[in-house]
C-alpha cells in the first residue's frame, strides 16, 4: 500500500520550514499562515488515516500504509515507513499538537522566520520517530529533533534558557549515544536494520557473541533519558520551564512520548524475555518516579515548573504500565501517553497564556483570577481535573487501565504492592493540582490583575479543541484503545501472555 500518505505527512512540515527559511518574505503574517497551512494539512491527513485504518481483529500487528524503498545499499538501510495500532495514535497526536503549536505561537514577534522554521522541523523529526520502521531512519529522526529544540529554547526561552538548552542537548545526546551503540550491536548481531525483521525473528537472530541484555540496556538508556525515568529526569524541569510555551507543549505533549514508544517498540518487542527478567527494576524506578515526582511537584512555587514536575510523575505511570508487561497495562500506558500529551499540552498552553497576560509566574503572587479571567479559569480547571484523573476525562481512562492492568499482571512479583504504592501518587496529584487551582484562581481577587485579558478567539479555538479531545477520549476511550490494542496484542503474544 505505497500510497505516499505517510511521506506527505512526514515531509510537509519540513517543506514548510524550507519555504519559510529561504523563500518567503519577512512578513510575519505570511510566515504564520504558511506555518499553519503546512501543519494543518498533515493533521488533516493523519485524521483521514485514522479513519481509514483497518480496525478488524485480523489486522492486529499489521503494518498499514507501508512505504519501503532501498535507501543506502551498502549497509542495507531502507526508507521504510508504516503505522500500526501503536504508532498511529501518536502520529495523530503529533500532527494535532504540531498544528496547535503554531496557533499557540501566533503572538511570537521575535525572529519569526527562524522560529517557525525550527518549529516545523521539530514536528517532522518527531513524526519521523513514530513513522520509521528502519532503525537508522528512526535514529536519524530521533537525533534531528535535538537541533531545533536547542535553538527554540535558547533564543525564545526565558530564565536560565542557555543553561537549560545545553543541558537538554547534552542529556539527549548522552542517551542517544548509548542508543546508537545499541542499534549498532543489533545490526551487528542480526545483520538487519529493519524493526520488523528483528522483531519477528526475535532473539533467535541475536548470536551468542553479545549478551542480549547488554543491547537491551543500551537501547533502554536512550529511551529512559527521554521519558524521563527517575535518575535521568533532571533535564526535564529546566527544559520545560525555560522553553517558550508552544515548545513546552510539543516537549511535554509528544517529545517525551518518544521514550515510551521506543521502549515498547524496541525494548519490549525485540527482547521479551530480557524485559520480563528486568521488569521489576523498571517497575521500582517507575514507582519512585511517580511518588518522588509528585512530592517534588507539591513543593513548587513556579507555575510552569510545577506542571513540568508533574510530567515526571505521570511518566512514571507510563513506565509502570509498560513494564507490568500485561496487555491491559500496555494499552493503559499507551493511552496514558496520548492522554498526557493532550492534557499537559493544554496545561502548558494555559500557563503560557496566564503568564503572557499577567506577566507573573510565581504562585505566591498570583491569586483570585477566577473573577478576572473566567474562561481561562474554567478551561484550566478542566485540564487540571483531567490531569488528576477525574472520571469522564481521558486521564481517568488511562490511569485506570494502567492500574487495573498492572495489578492483574503476572510477570512481575509483588506487582500488586507496587501498584498500590503507585495509586498513592494519584492522591498527591490531586493535592497539588487542587492546591494550585486554589492558589491561582480562588481567594480574594487581587487589584493588580484587574483588567487582565481573558482568552481571545484564537486562544479559545485551541483550548476547546484540546478539551474536546480530552472529553471524547474520557467518555469513549475505545476510539483510541481499539487501535492501540491492535498494536499491543502481538507484543503481548511475544511475552507469552
Amino acid at each position: 500500500m505505497g500510497s505516499g500518505y505517510l511521506t506527505t505527512i512526514l515531509f510537509l512540515p519540513v517543506a514548510g520550514a524550507v519555504l519559510i527559511a529561504f523563500v518567503l518574505s519577512d512578513r510575519e503574517r505570511v510566515i504564520r499562515w504558511t506555518a499553519a497551512l503546512f501543519t494543518f494539512v498533515p493533521f488533516a491527513l493523519s485524521v483521514i488515516l485514522f479513519a481509514l485504518f483497518n480496525r478488524s481483529p485480523e489486522a492486529a500487528g499489521l503494518i498499514q500504509f507501508e512505504e519501503k524503498a532501498l535507501w543506502i545499499a551498502p549497509i542495507n538501510a531502507h526508507y521504510h515507513l508504516g503505522v500500526d495500532g501503536l504508532s498511529l495514535p501518536m502520529v495523530v497526536l503529533t500532527a494535532f499538537l504540531g498544528f496547535l503549536a503554531v496557533l499557540i505561537s501566533w503572538k511570537i514577534h521575535l525572529r519569526v522566520r527562524e522560529y517557525f522554521a525550527w518549529l516545523l522541523l521539530l514536528e517532522t523529526s518527531i513524526l519521523g520517530v513514530f513513522l520509521s520502521l528502519d532503525l537508522l531512519l528512526f535514529f536519524i529522526m530521533w537525533e534531528i529533533e535535538v537541533i531545533p529544540m536547542y535553538f527554540l529554547i535558547n533564543i525564545w526561552g526565558a530564565g536560565h534558557k542557555e543553561y537549560s538548552a545545553i543541558k537538554y542537548v547534552l542529556y539527549t545526546l548522552f542517551g542517544s549515544a548509548f542508543m546508537l551503540a545499541g542499534i549498532l550491536s543489533l545490526y551487528f548481531t542480526t545483520g538487519s536494520l529493519s524493526m520488523l525483521e528483528i522483531g519477528n525473528q526475535g532473539l533467535g537472530m541475536v548470536q551468542s557473541i553479545m549478551p542480549a541484555a547488554a543491547i537491551f540496556f543500551l537501547l533502554l538508556i536512550g529511551f529512559a533519558v527521554k521519558l524521563p525515568v527517575f535518575p535521568f529526569h533532571t533535564w526535564l524541569p529546566d527544559a520545560h520551564t525555560d522553553a517558550p510555551t508552544a515548545v513546552s507543549v510539543m516537549l511535554a505533549g509528544v517529545l517525551i512520548k518518544m521514550g515510551g514508544y521506543g521502549m515498547i517498540r524496541l525494548c519490549v518487542t525485540m527482547f521479551p524475555p530480557i524485559a520480563q527478567q528486568f521488569a521489576v527494576i523498571l517497575v521500582v524506578l517507575a514507582i519512585i518516579g511517580v511518588l518522588y515526582g509528585a512530592a517534588v511537584t507539591m513543593r513548587q512555587n513556579d507555575f510552569k515548573r510545577l506542571i513540568a514536575y508533574s510530567s515526571i510523575s505521570h511518566m512514571g505511570y507510563v513506565l509502570l504500565g509498560i513494564f507490568a508487561l500485561g496487555k491491559v497495562s500496555l494499552v493503559g500506558a499507551s493511552l496514558q501517553m496520548f492522554s498526557h500529551g493532550v492534557v499537559t499540552g493544554l496545561l502548558f498552553a494555559m500557563v503560557g497564556l496566564i503568564m503572557h497576560n499577567t506577566h507573573e509566574r510565581d504562585l505566591r503572587k498570583l491569586g483570585g483570577l477566577a473573577r478576572q479571567v473566567p474562561i481561562i479559569t474554567v478551561v484550566f480547571s478542566i485540564a487540571g481535573l483531567a490531569s488528576l484523573g477525574l472520571p469522564s476525562t481521558s486521564g481517568f481512562a488511562a490511569e485506570f487501565l494502567v492500574f487495573v492492568g498492572s495489578f492483574s499482571s503476572t510477570t512481575v512479583p509483588w506487582i500488586q504492592g507496587y501498584t498500590i504504592l503507585g495509586v498513592l501518587g494519584v492522591v498527591v496529584t490531586a493535592g497539588y493540582i487542587l492546591w494550585m487551582l486554589q492558589r491561582v484562581f480562588y481567594g480574594p481577587p487581587l487589584e493588580q490583575y484587574n483588567g487582565t485579558a481573558d482568552a481571545d478567539t484564537l486562544e479559545k479555538v485551541y483550548m476547546f479543541a484540546l478539551i474536546a479531545v480530552i472529553m471524547l477520549v474520557g467518555i469513549y476511550p475505545a476510539i483510541i484503545t481499539d487501535v492501540f490494542k491492535l498494536g499491543i496484542s502481538p507484543i503481548v503474544g511475544l511475552l507469552g501472555g
Binding site: I72, P74, I75, E143, I147, F174, F178, A181, F188, M210
Partner: protein, 486 residues
C-alpha cells in the same frame, strides 16, 4: 612502463612550474589561481577517467595505480581545488610570493598523491617529504610572529617524526631485506611465528612507523604541534593541513599496514590494538582540550585530533578483522571524504568571517547569525556535522566506521567514541550559540567573493548529500578498499 598512467602527476607538476614562471610576467595575480585550478581540473578529469580499470604498477613497482590510490588522488585534488578557491580572498594578505603560494599548494598535493600510490618504503618516504616540505613553507607564509613560530615548530617536530619514521623503515628493511611492501609481507608470512616473536627489531620497526605516521595524522601523543600550527598558519593552509595532510597519512597507514603487516593474524591483531588504544586516547584528549579554547582555529585543531581518533577506530577494526573484511578500510575512506567536505567548509566560513573581523576569537563571532545569515548557517551545518549529528555527513561517517568496530566486537571502543561525540557537542555548539544568540558588535554585513561562496556551497552540498544519500560514495569507498583483498 606506461607513462600515460602518470599523466595526473605530470600535469600537476607542470602546472606548478607554469604558475611560478607566470608569476614573473603577469600583473593580475588572480590569473595564477585560475591556472592552478585548471591544472587541478585536468589532473582530476584524467584521474577520474582512470577509475575502475586495472593497471600495472609503474616505475619499477614503486607506484601502484589502483582504485585505492585513485580514490585518494581525487580526494586530494578536490581538496586542493576548494582550498585554492577559498584562497583567492585570503592571498591579499601576502604582499609578495603569491605565485609561490599556489605552486607550493600544488606541489604538496603532488606529494600526497604520490603518498597514496607508493608501495615501496623509499617511495613512501620521498613522497612524504615532498608533501611535508611544501607544507612547512606554506605554514610560515604570513611571515608574522605566530606564523613563523608555527612554521619552525612544524619543521622541527616534523623532522624528528621523519627521523623516527626512517629509523622504523630501516629496522624493517634490516629484518626483511626488502623495501617493497608486498615482498615484506611475503618474508614475514614465510617465517615461523617463533622467529618473529624472538625478533624485537620488526616489532620495534612497526611501532616506530606508527609513531612517524601518527605525527602526520595528528594522533595523541604525537599531536603537540597541532594547536600552534593550526593557529599560526594562513587559514586556507590550516584547512588543507587538517584535511589533506591527515588523509594522506591515513592513506599510507592503510596501505603499509594492510599490505605489509596484514598477515599473520596475530600480528595484525597487535597493531589493531595499538590503534584502538591510540584512538581512545586521541579522541578523549582532543575533545577535552578543545573545550577551553577561545580561538576557533585552535579549537578546530584539537577537534581534528579527536577526529583522527574516530578515524583510527576504523584502523583498529581493520587490524582485528580477517583479511577479506574491508569494512574498516572503507569506513576510513568514507569518513575521510565526509570529513573533507565538513572541515574545509568550516574553514572556508571562518576565512570569510575573519577576513571581515580580523579576529579568530570565538567571542568575536557574536551575532554573526544576523550579520551574515548564510555564512553562519553554513558554519552551523559543518559544526553539526563535526559533532556527528544527522542529517549531516558526519553522522553517516561515524555510523559507518563505528559499525566496522562493532563488527569486530569492540563495543568498549564504540562506547568511548559515542560518549566523546557528546563531549564534543559542548564546544562545537558553543560557537553556534555565540553566532545565533550573541549580541551583534557591529551591523556591518560580511561580504565574500564569488569564488569563496562557490567553494562553501560545494562543501555544504557535499555535507548534506553524504549525510542523506551516502550510498553511492560508500560504494566507491568499498570499491577503493577492495584493493586490499588478496
Amino acid at each position: 612502463m606506461n607513462l600515460a598512467l602518470f599523466i595526473p602527476e605530470i600535469a600537476l607538476a607542470a602546472t606548478a612550474v607554469i604558475v611560478i614562471l607566470l608569476d614573473l610576467f603577469v600583473e593580475q595575480k588572480r590569473w595564477l589561481a585560475q591556472v592552478s585550478i585548471s591544472g587541478l581540473v585536468i589532473a582530476g578529469v584524467v584521474t577520474i577517467a582512470m577509475w575502475g580499470g586495472s593497471y600495472p604498477a609503474i616505475f619499477n613497482n614503486m607506484l601502484a595505480v589502483d582504485n585505492f590510490a585513485l580514490f585518494f588522488k581525487v580526494l586530494f585534488l578536490g581538496v586542493a581545488f576548494l582550498v585554492i578557491l577559498s584562497s583567492t580572498d585570503y592571498v591579499g594578505k601576502f604582499s609578495r610570493f603569491q605565485g609561490e603560494y599556489y605552486a607550493l599548494v600544488l606541489l604538496a598535493t603532488l606529494g600526497m598523491m604520490l603518498m597514496a600510490a607508493a608501495t615501496n618504503l623509499i617511495a613512501i618516504y620521498i613522497a612524504l617529504e615532498l608533501a611535508s616540505i611544501s607544507l612547512y613553507a606554506l605554514v610560515g607564509f604570513l611571515k608574522d610572529k605566530k606564523s613563523s613560530e608555527a612554521s619552525l615548530k612544524y619543521l622541527l617536530l616534523g623532522a624528528v617524526a621523519s627521523a623516527v619514521l626512517l629509523y622504523g623503515m630501516a629496522l624493517i628493511f634490516g629484518f626483511t631485506g626488502k623495501t617493497q611492501l608486498g615482498e615484506i609481507a611475503q618474508v614475514i608470512q614465510a617465517l615461523p611465528p617463533m622467529t618473529l616473536l624472538a625478533s624485537p627489531g620488526l616489532l620495534l620497526g612497526i611501532v616506530l612507523l606508527v609513531a612517524g605516521f601518527g605525527f602526520k595524522i595528528a594522533a595523541v601523543p604525537f599531536h603537540m604541534w597541532v594547536p600552534d600550527v593550526y593557529e599560526g598558519a594562513p587559514t586556507p593552509i590550516t584547512a588543507y593541513l587538517s584535511v589533506a595532510s591527515k588523509a594522506a597519512g591515513f592513506a599510507i597507514i592503510l596501505r603499509v599496514f594492510f599490505s605489509a603487516f596484514g598477515l599473520p593474524d596475530w600480528l595484525s591483531l597487535n597493531w589493531g590494538y595499538i590503534f584502538a588504544a591510540l584512538a581512545a586516547i586521541s579522541m578523549t584528549i582532543g575533545n577535552i582540550l578543545a573545550i577551553p579554547q577561545a580561538n576557533i582555529k585552535r579549537m578546530l585543531g584539537y577537534s581534528s585530533i579527536a577526529q583522527a581518533g574516530y578515524l583510527m577506530v576504523g584502523l583498529a577494526a581493520m587490524g582485528l578483522a580477517s583479511a577479506d573484511n574491508i569494512l574498516g578500510q572503507s569506513g576510513v575512506l568514507f569518513f575521510l571524504a565526509s570529513y573533507a567536505f565538513t572541515n574545509i567548509g568550516a574553514f572556508i566560513a571562518i576565512i570569510a568571517i575573519s577576513n571581515k573581523l580580523d579576529s579568530n576569537l570565538i567571542d568575536d563571532y557574536s551575532g554573526m547569525g544576523k550579520r551574515a545569515p548564510l555564512l553562519a548557517l553554513a558554519l552551523t551545518l559543518c559544526l553539526i556535522s563535526l559533532v556527528g549529528m544527522p542529517p549531516a555527513a558526519g553522522f553517516m561517517a561515524k555510523f559507518y566506521i563505528f559499525n566496522a568496530a562493532m563488527q569486530q566486537g569492540m563495543i568498549w571502543l564504540v562506547i568511548i567514541a559515542v560518549i566523546n561525540s557528546v563531549i564534543s557537542a559542548y564546544y562545537y555548539l558553543r560557537v553556534v550559540r555565540v553566532m545565533w544568540l550573541g549580541e551583534t558588535a557591529s551591523v556591518g554585513k560580511v561580504s565574500s567573493s564569488g569564488a569563496l561562496r562557490l567553494a562553501l556551497f560545494l562543501c555544504c552540498l557535499g555535507v548534506l548529500l553524504l549525510g542523506i544519500i551516502p550510498g553511492s560514495v560508500m560504494k566507491l569507498a568499498q570499491l577503493a578498499a577492495s584493493m586490499f583483498i588478496y
